[in-house]
Subunit: 193 residues, 2 copies
Protein backbone atom coordinates (compact mmCIF):
# COMPACT_ATOMS: atom_id res chain seq x y z
CA UNK A 1 0.00 0.00 0.00
CA UNK A 2 1.39 3.35 -1.08
CA UNK A 3 0.50 6.05 1.40
CA UNK A 4 2.90 8.80 0.31
CA UNK A 5 0.06 10.47 -1.57
CA UNK A 6 -2.28 10.78 1.40
CA UNK A 7 0.59 11.88 3.65
CA UNK A 8 1.41 14.54 1.10
CA UNK A 9 -2.25 15.53 1.06
CA UNK A 10 -2.40 15.96 4.83
CA UNK A 11 0.88 17.83 4.82
CA UNK A 12 -0.79 20.59 2.83
CA UNK A 13 -2.66 21.33 6.05
CA UNK A 14 -0.25 20.30 8.81
CA UNK A 15 2.89 18.15 8.65
CA UNK A 16 2.53 14.76 10.31
CA UNK A 17 5.20 13.21 12.51
CA UNK A 18 6.25 9.54 12.31
CA UNK A 19 3.99 8.43 15.10
CA UNK A 20 0.95 9.96 13.45
CA UNK A 21 1.86 8.53 10.07
CA UNK A 22 2.30 5.08 11.56
CA UNK A 23 -1.06 5.18 13.31
CA UNK A 24 -2.76 6.54 10.21
CA UNK A 25 -1.26 3.82 8.04
CA UNK A 26 -2.42 1.10 10.41
CA UNK A 27 -6.04 2.28 9.99
CA UNK A 28 -6.10 2.61 6.21
CA UNK A 29 -7.21 -0.13 3.85
CA UNK A 30 -6.39 -0.01 0.18
CA UNK A 31 -9.08 -1.01 -2.27
CA UNK A 32 -9.15 -1.34 -6.04
CA UNK A 33 -12.47 -0.53 -7.68
CA UNK A 34 -13.54 -1.24 -11.23
CA UNK A 35 -15.40 1.14 -13.48
CA UNK A 36 -19.15 1.14 -12.68
CA UNK A 37 -18.55 -0.59 -9.37
CA UNK A 38 -20.37 0.78 -6.31
CA UNK A 39 -18.70 1.52 -3.00
CA UNK A 40 -22.02 2.65 -1.50
CA UNK A 41 -25.61 1.84 -2.42
CA UNK A 42 -28.92 3.23 -1.23
CA UNK A 43 -30.09 1.47 1.90
CA UNK A 44 -26.60 0.60 3.13
CA UNK A 45 -24.85 2.44 5.94
CA UNK A 46 -21.78 4.31 4.71
CA UNK A 47 -19.09 2.44 6.64
CA UNK A 48 -15.99 4.22 5.31
CA UNK A 49 -14.71 7.51 4.17
CA UNK A 50 -12.52 7.08 1.13
CA UNK A 51 -9.46 8.97 -0.08
CA UNK A 52 -9.11 8.74 -3.83
CA UNK A 53 -5.56 7.74 -4.81
CA UNK A 54 -6.42 7.46 -8.49
CA UNK A 55 -9.58 7.33 -10.57
CA UNK A 56 -12.89 9.11 -10.37
CA UNK A 57 -16.18 8.71 -8.49
CA UNK A 58 -19.65 10.17 -8.50
CA UNK A 59 -22.05 10.31 -5.55
CA UNK A 60 -25.70 10.66 -6.48
CA UNK A 61 -29.29 10.22 -5.47
CA UNK A 62 -31.93 8.42 -7.51
CA UNK A 63 -35.34 10.10 -7.37
CA UNK A 64 -38.75 8.44 -7.52
CA UNK A 65 -38.72 8.60 -11.33
CA UNK A 66 -35.40 6.77 -11.46
CA UNK A 67 -33.41 9.83 -12.48
CA UNK A 68 -29.89 10.24 -11.05
CA UNK A 69 -28.83 13.53 -9.47
CA UNK A 70 -25.10 13.99 -8.96
CA UNK A 71 -24.19 15.55 -5.64
CA UNK A 72 -20.42 15.25 -5.96
CA UNK A 73 -17.48 14.08 -8.03
CA UNK A 74 -14.14 13.10 -6.52
CA UNK A 75 -10.85 12.51 -8.27
CA UNK A 76 -7.22 11.99 -7.13
CA UNK A 77 -6.52 13.52 -3.73
CA UNK A 78 -10.19 14.06 -3.03
CA UNK A 79 -12.44 12.44 -0.44
CA UNK A 80 -15.75 10.75 -0.89
CA UNK A 81 -18.38 9.49 1.55
CA UNK A 82 -21.96 10.07 2.60
CA UNK A 83 -20.93 11.90 5.73
CA UNK A 84 -24.49 12.01 7.06
CA UNK A 85 -24.86 8.25 6.93
CA UNK A 86 -21.27 7.69 8.07
CA UNK A 87 -21.78 9.64 11.29
CA UNK A 88 -25.40 8.81 12.05
CA UNK A 89 -24.86 5.16 11.05
CA UNK A 90 -28.25 5.28 9.35
CA UNK A 91 -28.94 3.88 5.86
CA UNK A 92 -27.82 6.14 3.06
CA UNK A 93 -30.04 7.48 0.30
CA UNK A 94 -27.03 7.84 -1.97
CA UNK A 95 -24.93 5.81 -4.34
CA UNK A 96 -21.18 6.15 -4.80
CA UNK A 97 -19.98 4.68 -8.08
CA UNK A 98 -16.63 4.58 -9.86
CA UNK A 99 -16.57 6.39 -13.20
CA UNK A 100 -13.12 4.94 -13.89
CA UNK A 101 -11.04 2.07 -12.54
CA UNK A 102 -9.82 3.53 -9.25
CA UNK A 103 -7.71 3.01 -6.17
CA UNK A 104 -8.86 4.30 -2.80
CA UNK A 105 -7.76 4.26 0.83
CA UNK A 106 -10.57 3.66 3.27
CA UNK A 107 -11.00 4.23 6.98
CA UNK A 108 -13.89 3.12 9.17
CA UNK A 109 -15.68 5.24 11.72
CA UNK A 110 -14.29 3.46 14.80
CA UNK A 111 -10.78 3.81 13.40
CA UNK A 112 -11.28 7.45 12.53
CA UNK A 113 -12.50 8.12 16.05
CA UNK A 114 -9.41 6.40 17.42
CA UNK A 115 -7.30 8.57 15.20
CA UNK A 116 -9.05 11.70 16.48
CA UNK A 117 -8.66 10.60 20.08
CA UNK A 118 -4.99 9.70 19.80
CA UNK A 119 -4.01 12.71 17.75
CA UNK A 120 -6.20 15.82 18.02
CA UNK A 121 -4.23 17.13 15.07
CA UNK A 122 -6.54 15.08 12.88
CA UNK A 123 -9.53 16.92 14.34
CA UNK A 124 -7.84 20.08 13.14
CA UNK A 125 -7.03 18.72 9.70
CA UNK A 126 -10.49 17.37 9.07
CA UNK A 127 -12.08 20.54 10.44
CA UNK A 128 -10.18 22.57 7.86
CA UNK A 129 -10.92 20.06 5.10
CA UNK A 130 -14.63 20.13 5.80
CA UNK A 131 -14.68 23.91 6.17
CA UNK A 132 -13.28 24.22 2.67
CA UNK A 133 -15.79 21.74 1.32
CA UNK A 134 -18.56 23.67 3.11
CA UNK A 135 -17.55 26.96 1.53
CA UNK A 136 -17.48 25.37 -1.94
CA UNK A 137 -20.91 23.92 -1.35
CA UNK A 138 -22.25 27.32 -0.29
CA UNK A 139 -21.06 28.76 -3.59
CA UNK A 140 -22.88 25.99 -5.39
CA UNK A 141 -26.12 26.68 -3.52
CA UNK A 142 -25.88 30.37 -4.38
CA UNK A 143 -25.33 29.48 -8.02
CA UNK A 144 -28.28 27.13 -8.02
CA UNK A 145 -30.69 29.69 -6.66
CA UNK A 146 -29.40 32.67 -8.62
CA UNK A 147 -28.08 31.57 -12.04
CA UNK A 148 -29.39 30.16 -15.29
CA UNK A 149 -28.42 26.69 -16.47
CA UNK A 150 -25.98 28.18 -18.98
CA UNK A 151 -24.23 30.19 -16.29
CA UNK A 152 -23.99 27.11 -14.08
CA UNK A 153 -22.49 25.10 -16.92
CA UNK A 154 -19.89 27.73 -17.79
CA UNK A 155 -19.02 28.07 -14.13
CA UNK A 156 -18.69 24.32 -13.78
CA UNK A 157 -16.13 24.22 -16.61
CA UNK A 158 -14.20 27.09 -15.03
CA UNK A 159 -14.29 25.59 -11.54
CA UNK A 160 -13.49 22.01 -12.55
CA UNK A 161 -11.46 22.24 -15.77
CA UNK A 162 -9.83 18.89 -15.00
CA UNK A 163 -13.21 17.15 -15.14
CA UNK A 164 -14.31 18.65 -18.45
CA UNK A 165 -12.52 16.12 -20.67
CA UNK A 166 -12.89 13.29 -18.21
CA UNK A 167 -16.60 12.80 -17.59
CA UNK A 168 -19.55 12.76 -19.95
CA UNK A 169 -21.96 15.61 -20.44
CA UNK A 170 -24.69 13.42 -19.03
CA UNK A 171 -22.82 13.49 -15.73
CA UNK A 172 -22.26 17.23 -15.86
CA UNK A 173 -25.93 17.81 -16.68
CA UNK A 174 -26.94 15.76 -13.67
CA UNK A 175 -24.56 17.78 -11.49
CA UNK A 176 -25.75 21.23 -12.55
CA UNK A 177 -29.38 20.15 -12.44
CA UNK A 178 -30.55 20.05 -16.06
CA UNK A 179 -31.50 17.31 -18.50
CA UNK A 180 -28.82 16.04 -20.90
CA UNK A 181 -30.95 17.23 -23.82
CA UNK A 182 -31.07 20.75 -22.51
CA UNK A 183 -27.34 20.77 -21.78
CA UNK A 184 -26.76 19.76 -25.38
CA UNK A 185 -28.74 22.82 -26.48
CA UNK A 186 -26.77 25.02 -24.10
CA UNK A 187 -23.52 23.74 -25.57
CA UNK A 188 -24.71 24.37 -29.10
CA UNK A 189 -25.71 27.87 -28.13
CA UNK A 190 -22.32 28.57 -26.54
CA UNK A 191 -20.24 27.35 -29.47
CA UNK A 192 -22.28 29.43 -31.91
CA UNK A 193 -21.27 32.60 -30.05
Amino acid sequence: MNITQIIEHFSNYTPLNNEEIECLESKLTERKVKRRQFILQEGDVCKHISFVVSGCFKMYKVDTKGTEHNLQFSIENGWIADLGSFHSEKPSELYIEALEASTILQITRPDLILLYTNFPKFDRIFRVLIENAFVSLQKRVLQNISSTAEERYVDFLKTYPSLFNRISNVQIASYIGVTPEFLSKIRKNITSK
Copy 2:
Protein backbone atom coordinates in the same frame (compact mmCIF):
# COMPACT_ATOMS: atom_id res chain seq x y z
CA MET B 1 -22.71 39.18 29.25
CA ASN B 2 -24.68 35.98 29.62
CA ILE B 3 -22.76 33.03 28.30
CA THR B 4 -24.77 30.16 29.80
CA GLN B 5 -26.55 29.74 26.47
CA ILE B 6 -23.42 29.23 24.39
CA ILE B 7 -21.91 26.95 27.07
CA GLU B 8 -25.08 24.91 26.94
CA HIS B 9 -24.80 24.84 23.16
CA PHE B 10 -21.24 23.51 23.25
CA SER B 11 -22.15 21.00 25.93
CA ASN B 12 -24.44 19.31 23.43
CA TYR B 13 -21.24 18.23 21.71
CA THR B 14 -18.69 17.95 24.55
CA PRO B 15 -18.83 19.27 28.10
CA LEU B 16 -16.41 22.14 28.79
CA ASN B 17 -14.33 22.42 31.94
CA ASN B 18 -13.86 25.66 33.87
CA GLU B 19 -10.59 26.53 32.25
CA GLU B 20 -12.08 26.20 28.77
CA ILE B 21 -15.15 28.20 29.73
CA GLU B 22 -13.02 30.96 31.17
CA CYS B 23 -10.86 31.19 28.07
CA LEU B 24 -13.90 31.09 25.79
CA GLU B 25 -15.62 33.84 27.76
CA SER B 26 -12.56 36.07 27.55
CA LYS B 27 -12.68 35.88 23.74
CA LEU B 28 -16.39 36.57 23.26
CA THR B 29 -17.90 40.00 22.69
CA GLU B 30 -21.59 40.62 23.12
CA ARG B 31 -23.32 42.81 20.58
CA LYS B 32 -26.88 44.08 20.27
CA VAL B 33 -28.14 44.51 16.72
CA LYS B 34 -31.25 46.36 15.57
CA ARG B 35 -33.68 45.11 12.98
CA ARG B 36 -32.37 45.76 9.44
CA GLN B 37 -28.85 46.40 10.74
CA PHE B 38 -25.94 44.75 8.92
CA ILE B 39 -23.15 42.82 10.62
CA LEU B 40 -21.44 42.14 7.29
CA GLN B 41 -21.61 43.97 3.97
CA GLU B 42 -20.29 43.11 0.52
CA GLY B 43 -16.70 44.25 0.14
CA ASP B 44 -15.85 43.94 3.82
CA VAL B 45 -13.81 41.09 5.25
CA CYS B 46 -15.87 38.94 7.62
CA LYS B 47 -13.99 39.60 10.86
CA HIS B 48 -16.13 37.54 13.25
CA ILE B 49 -18.16 34.43 13.53
CA SER B 50 -21.33 35.12 15.48
CA PHE B 51 -23.36 32.94 17.79
CA VAL B 52 -27.00 34.05 17.88
CA VAL B 53 -28.25 34.40 21.46
CA SER B 54 -31.61 35.81 20.38
CA GLY B 55 -33.11 37.18 17.20
CA CYS B 56 -32.82 36.23 13.56
CA PHE B 57 -30.42 36.89 10.67
CA LYS B 58 -30.24 36.32 6.96
CA MET B 59 -27.06 35.99 4.89
CA TYR B 60 -27.47 36.74 1.21
CA LYS B 61 -25.85 37.73 -2.04
CA VAL B 62 -27.02 40.55 -4.29
CA ASP B 63 -26.74 39.72 -7.99
CA THR B 64 -25.99 42.11 -10.85
CA LYS B 65 -29.69 42.92 -11.21
CA GLY B 66 -29.92 43.90 -7.54
CA THR B 67 -31.90 40.82 -6.53
CA GLU B 68 -31.15 39.25 -3.14
CA HIS B 69 -30.52 35.51 -2.82
CA ASN B 70 -30.70 34.09 0.69
CA LEU B 71 -27.98 31.58 1.46
CA GLN B 72 -28.78 31.06 5.13
CA PHE B 73 -30.99 32.03 8.06
CA SER B 74 -29.81 31.79 11.67
CA ILE B 75 -31.84 32.03 14.84
CA GLU B 76 -31.20 31.37 18.56
CA ASN B 77 -28.34 28.93 19.14
CA GLY B 78 -27.23 29.10 15.53
CA TRP B 79 -24.04 30.48 14.03
CA ILE B 80 -23.61 32.94 11.23
CA ALA B 81 -20.58 34.10 9.25
CA ASP B 82 -19.15 34.09 5.76
CA LEU B 83 -16.69 31.34 6.54
CA GLY B 84 -14.92 31.73 3.22
CA SER B 85 -14.14 35.39 3.82
CA PHE B 86 -13.45 34.78 7.51
CA HIS B 87 -10.72 32.25 6.82
CA SER B 88 -9.25 33.68 3.61
CA GLU B 89 -9.47 37.23 5.00
CA LYS B 90 -10.63 38.36 1.56
CA PRO B 91 -13.58 40.71 0.95
CA SER B 92 -16.95 39.04 1.20
CA GLU B 93 -19.58 39.01 -1.53
CA LEU B 94 -22.30 38.54 1.06
CA TYR B 95 -24.45 40.57 3.40
CA ILE B 96 -25.55 39.51 6.87
CA GLU B 97 -28.57 41.45 8.11
CA ALA B 98 -30.75 41.22 11.20
CA LEU B 99 -34.38 40.37 10.48
CA GLU B 100 -35.24 41.10 14.13
CA ALA B 101 -33.61 42.97 16.99
CA SER B 102 -30.96 40.49 18.06
CA THR B 103 -28.18 39.71 20.52
CA ILE B 104 -25.05 37.91 19.36
CA LEU B 105 -21.70 36.76 20.75
CA GLN B 106 -18.79 37.35 18.41
CA ILE B 107 -15.29 35.98 18.20
CA THR B 108 -12.49 37.12 15.90
CA ARG B 109 -10.24 34.88 13.85
CA PRO B 110 -7.07 35.45 15.93
CA ASP B 111 -9.01 34.68 19.09
CA LEU B 112 -10.59 31.59 17.59
CA ILE B 113 -7.16 30.35 16.53
CA LEU B 114 -5.91 30.91 20.09
CA LEU B 115 -8.85 28.94 21.36
CA TYR B 116 -8.06 26.08 18.98
CA THR B 117 -4.40 26.12 19.95
CA ASN B 118 -5.01 26.21 23.69
CA PHE B 119 -7.80 23.65 23.69
CA PRO B 120 -7.93 21.16 20.82
CA LYS B 121 -11.36 20.23 22.11
CA PHE B 122 -12.65 23.26 20.21
CA ASP B 123 -11.23 21.84 16.99
CA ARG B 124 -13.33 18.80 17.70
CA ILE B 125 -16.47 20.77 18.52
CA PHE B 126 -16.26 22.97 15.48
CA ARG B 127 -15.42 20.01 13.27
CA VAL B 128 -18.64 18.33 14.34
CA LEU B 129 -20.62 21.57 14.02
CA ILE B 130 -19.42 22.16 10.50
CA GLU B 131 -19.90 18.53 9.52
CA ASN B 132 -23.55 18.83 10.49
CA ALA B 133 -23.90 22.07 8.56
CA PHE B 134 -22.22 20.43 5.58
CA VAL B 135 -24.64 17.51 5.57
CA SER B 136 -27.62 19.88 5.73
CA LEU B 137 -26.21 21.87 2.85
CA GLN B 138 -25.76 18.71 0.79
CA LYS B 139 -29.45 17.94 1.27
CA ARG B 140 -30.27 21.42 0.06
CA VAL B 141 -28.13 21.02 -3.06
CA LEU B 142 -29.83 17.74 -3.86
CA GLN B 143 -33.22 19.40 -3.45
CA ASN B 144 -32.22 22.26 -5.68
CA ILE B 145 -31.11 20.03 -8.53
CA SER B 146 -33.88 17.45 -8.24
CA SER B 147 -37.10 19.08 -7.02
CA THR B 148 -39.70 21.54 -8.26
CA ALA B 149 -40.20 24.86 -6.52
CA GLU B 150 -43.33 23.54 -4.83
CA GLU B 151 -41.45 20.56 -3.40
CA ARG B 152 -38.68 22.84 -2.16
CA TYR B 153 -41.22 25.09 -0.46
CA VAL B 154 -43.04 22.22 1.25
CA ASP B 155 -39.72 20.78 2.37
CA PHE B 156 -38.60 24.15 3.70
CA LEU B 157 -41.70 24.35 5.90
CA LYS B 158 -41.11 20.82 7.16
CA THR B 159 -37.41 21.36 7.79
CA TYR B 160 -37.71 24.79 9.42
CA PRO B 161 -41.17 24.93 11.02
CA SER B 162 -39.92 27.50 13.53
CA LEU B 163 -39.15 29.95 10.71
CA PHE B 164 -42.51 29.66 8.98
CA ASN B 165 -44.36 32.13 11.18
CA ARG B 166 -41.32 34.28 11.78
CA ILE B 167 -40.05 35.45 8.40
CA SER B 168 -41.88 36.78 5.36
CA ASN B 169 -42.62 34.75 2.26
CA VAL B 170 -40.38 37.10 0.34
CA GLN B 171 -37.46 35.77 2.40
CA ILE B 172 -38.50 32.16 1.95
CA ALA B 173 -38.86 32.67 -1.81
CA SER B 174 -35.34 34.07 -1.96
CA TYR B 175 -34.05 31.07 0.00
CA ILE B 176 -35.65 28.38 -2.15
CA GLY B 177 -34.74 30.22 -5.34
CA VAL B 178 -38.02 31.49 -6.78
CA THR B 179 -39.63 34.91 -7.20
CA PRO B 180 -42.09 36.07 -4.51
CA GLU B 181 -44.83 36.16 -7.15
CA PHE B 182 -44.31 32.55 -8.06
CA LEU B 183 -44.20 31.49 -4.42
CA SER B 184 -47.55 33.20 -3.96
CA LYS B 185 -48.95 31.05 -6.77
CA ILE B 186 -47.43 27.93 -5.23
CA ARG B 187 -49.09 28.74 -1.91
CA LYS B 188 -52.44 29.30 -3.57
CA ASN B 189 -52.08 26.00 -5.36
CA ILE B 190 -51.23 24.15 -2.14
CA THR B 191 -54.14 25.51 -0.10
CA SER B 192 -56.60 24.64 -2.87
CA LYS B 193 -55.62 20.99 -2.56
